[in-house]
């Protein structure tokens, strides 16, 4: 029943918001429905936190600590982004970049995107996971090109083709997984692709096939995570889409894609009985972290800057999952949570800052603290949080990852430190002049929604100091599962 609500509310909202008669209250309805989803998801995760993992709907859906916290996070950020997007989209409409029809498309597709992410996270079926991931891509293509500028069309095309090709690789990987499952479990139709069934027999799955499958799955879902060198679509899509879309892409979709990779990794590692998948993840992770950090320096667009920072952070998380072990996994899960909160809040602020200055180019954004102190300071705080300054949560997770790396793979620690240092300098130098100094700009026609920003940052701060026992238990259980 609760699952029906979790999946039904966003789907119902997709339909409702597509109707012309909800046009006037679209933004409010969008936020309201997102809040309803959030409540439904919280109810579901609470049950899992109390009663442990559960299988639902003929085992087609599975909620365990690993996806429970992610789905909660997704629903929460989905709700706050919907709150933020109300004044943001109104301002864009005021500036003539958006028509009521496109706004309707935006609201409807936003809910569809949320629904497909919920399915991707909650499903137990690796095939359904693929279908939902593809659905998440499809529902956001038209959102990236929402403003219909030349650059946004190009970004959306690139996003569609690269992720489309990537996800086709993942389909082939899923096919190989099914092939291996059929060898072991026999021809069972729907149940052969169930993750729980595969997990139970993971040691008996054919290692050669699974190794091959992992390569395809990693390349496929890795494209969506934005792992270098498959990251090309990411900065463009983040920079050219509207700010709320960048926030959910960066804060949520990347997490969901990484979640898919990790689910596959658990199976493959169990089958081939070596650390090879972990090593591959470490390699991709380090490369992404370094590349993201160095490319930060060359950015002139504020949203591209934070997009590259996302590549860097996803790299760090992937690296941590590659390290494995309870501590690194715990840190990776924590980092996923805090990065998602912080990065989406940064995209909210970046969106408002760009609207205030009338440009996304960083040399055009000056003196935010003088023009609108709230925006200026939230950008400052957000940047400090994303750079991993204590006491924000990213510090805690990066510290754990670094110490584990020093302990287990000393060669990797300096590389990781270089990435962190370079990213630190890059963001700090670029953000500072945007906040301080003189600046003059007209007031925004609709007052910005900064409450979500501060709520996100407060949560990121809290998680750096105190992790609630329920959440910590969740992380620990998930970390043990991932191994």
């Amino acid at each position: 029943m609760d699952l029906l609500l979790v999946l039904g509310i966003p789907l119902l909202a997709t339909l409702l918001l597509a109707l012309p008669l909800t046009r006037r209250v679209g933004a409010e309805l969008n936020a309201g429905m997102s809040f309803a989803s959030f409540l439904a998801v919280s109810w579901l995760t609470l049950r899992v936190a109390r009663g442990g993992p559960m299988l639902l709907w003929h085992e087609q859906f599975y909620v365990d600590p690993f996806n429970a916290f992610l789905v909660e996070l997704t629903a929460f950020v989905g709700f706050t982004t919907a709150v933020f997007s109300r004044p943001y989209m109104r301002t864009e409409e005021h500036h003539g970049r958006l028509t009521p029809r496109r706004k309707r498309l935006y609201h409807s597709m936003y809910q569809l995107f949320m629904a497909s992410m919920f399915v991707a996270l909650l499903t137990n079926n690796m095939g359904l996971l693929w279908v939902a991931m593809e659905g998440a891509t499809l529902s956001t293509v038209l959102l990236v090109s929402l403003f219909r500028t030349k650059a946004s069309l190009e970004a959306a095309w690139k996003y569609f083709i690269l992720c489309g090709v990537g996800i086709a690789q993942a389909l082939f990987g899923t096919l190989l997984l099914y092939f291996a499952a059929e060898q072991t479990l026999g021809r069972q139709g729907m149940t052969a692709l169930l993750w729980t069934h595969l997990y139970a027999v993971k040691a008996d799955l054919e290692p050669t096939v699974l190794a091959l499958a992992f390569v395809f799955l990693l390349v496929g879902y890795g494209t969506k995570v934005g792992l270098a060198p498959l990251h090309n679509w990411l900065p463009d899509a983040h920079a050219e889409g509207p700010a709320p879309v960048s926030a959910v892409l960066s804060g949520l979709l990347l997490n969901v894609a990484l979640y898919a990779v990790i689910r596959c990794k658990v199976l493959v590692e169990g089958s081939i009985g070596s650390v090879l998948p972990g090593r591959i993840l470490m390699g991709f992770g380090l490369l992404s972290a370094l590349l993201g950090a160095f490319f930060l320096w060359r950015q002139r667009d504020i949203k591209r800057l934070f997009a590259y920072s996302s590549i860097e952070h996803m790299g760090i998380i992937t690296f941590a999952f590659g390290l494995g072990g309870p501590i690194a996994n715990f840190a990776a899960l924590l980092h996923m949570t805090v990065h998602s909160l912080t990065k989406s809040s940064l995209f909210f602020t970046a969106g408002h800052a760009a609207q205030t200055a009338g440009t996304q180019r960083m040399d055009g954004i000056r003196g935010l603290a003088a023009i609108n102190p709230a925006i200026g300071w939230s950008l400052m705080l957000g940047s400090i949080a994303i750079l991993g300054m204590p006491p924000f949560g990213i510090f805690a997770s990066e510290f754990l990852i670094l110490t584990t790396a020093v302990h287990e793979h000393p060669w990797a620690a300096p590389l990781l430190l270089i990435a962190l240092g370079v990213a630190f300098g890059g963001i700090f130098i670029k953000v500072q002049p945007m906040i301080f100094g003189d600046g003059r700009a007209p007031r925004l026609p609709h007052s910005p929604a900064l409450l979500p920003v501060f709520v996100h940052l407060a949560l990121a701060l809290t998680l750096g100091i105190y992790i609630p026992p329920t959440l910590a238990a969740c992380y620990n259980a998930a970390a043990n599962l991932i191994g």
């Binding site: 359904l128 593809e134 069309l153 190009e154 096919l175």
Partner: protein, 221 residues
């Protein structure tokens, strides 16, 4: 036994046809022809799936064959043709540089595909196990087509052909994915083409053509 032997032979023949069409696609200039070739690829897929279903007596596969017929032979080519007409692009052709070189790369890809498929073919128990290499080759050739083409529509046809290759791989290796998954994939594909249709109009409106060189201004900097 005789029946099975004949079916296997026929399947190999069909698979060869599939590979041939992939090569033909690499060298076709006219969009219209490409859509026709895509429809042919779909029909071969339909026939081979029917044959496998008959040989292995699997009713489920008949459904998936029917789905192929409806989606890939009728609906998608029809949508594409219609789109081309609406955009006034049905007689478009694109200059292709260096067809022989592309063909040679294609040949290398085929050899690579067979090498990659070897371990899977060894393990498979289906009568179609020898065609997994061909399925993989079709995927890679479609990929090559997507890279070498400069028109949005052709890139999309390449994308759809790649999906055909994936579908063929699924029937060859495991007698098809579970039905629900196949329905999901078909739905995704339909939505994808629908969205791309909208997208073509947007691109056409902005740039007055579907040439991809307009879409190469965003760079890493």
């Amino acid at each position: 036994m005789l029946k099975s032997h004949l079916a296997a032979q026929l399947l190999n023949l069909l698979a060869a046809g599939l590979l041939l069409i992939s090569f033909a696609m690499l060298s076709r200039r006219r969009t219209q022809r490409l859509i026709t070739l895509f429809a042919w690829q779909g029909s071969i897929l339909f026939l081979s799936t029917c044959l496998v279903a008959y040989d292995a007596s699997l009713t489920e596969l008949y459904y998936s064959a029917a789905l192929t017929l409806i989606m890939k032979v009728i609906t998608l080519p029809w949508i594409l043709h219609r789109l081309m007409r609406r955009l006034g692009a049905q007689w478009d052709s694109e200059p292709l540089v260096n067809i022989p070189a592309t063909m040679l790369v294609g040949l290398v890809l085929v050899i690579f595909a067979f090498g990659l498929a070897e371990p899977i073919s060894m393990l498979a128990t289906t009568i179609t196990r020898h065609t997994i290499g061909i399925a993989l080759a079709v995927i890679l050739l479609s990929f090559l087509m997507m890279i070498t083409r400069r028109k949005a529509v052709t890139v999309v046809i390449g994308f759809l052909a790649m999906e055909n290759g994936l579908f063929f791989a699924a029937t060859s290796a495991t007698y098809g994915m579970p039905m629900v998954i196949e329905l999901g994939i078909a739905l995704d594909l339909l939505v994808a083409v629908f969205i791309l249709g909208i997208f073509f109009f947007q691109i056409h409106e902005q740039f007055d053509s579907l040439d991809l060189h307009h879409l190469e201004t965003l760079r890493e900097d």
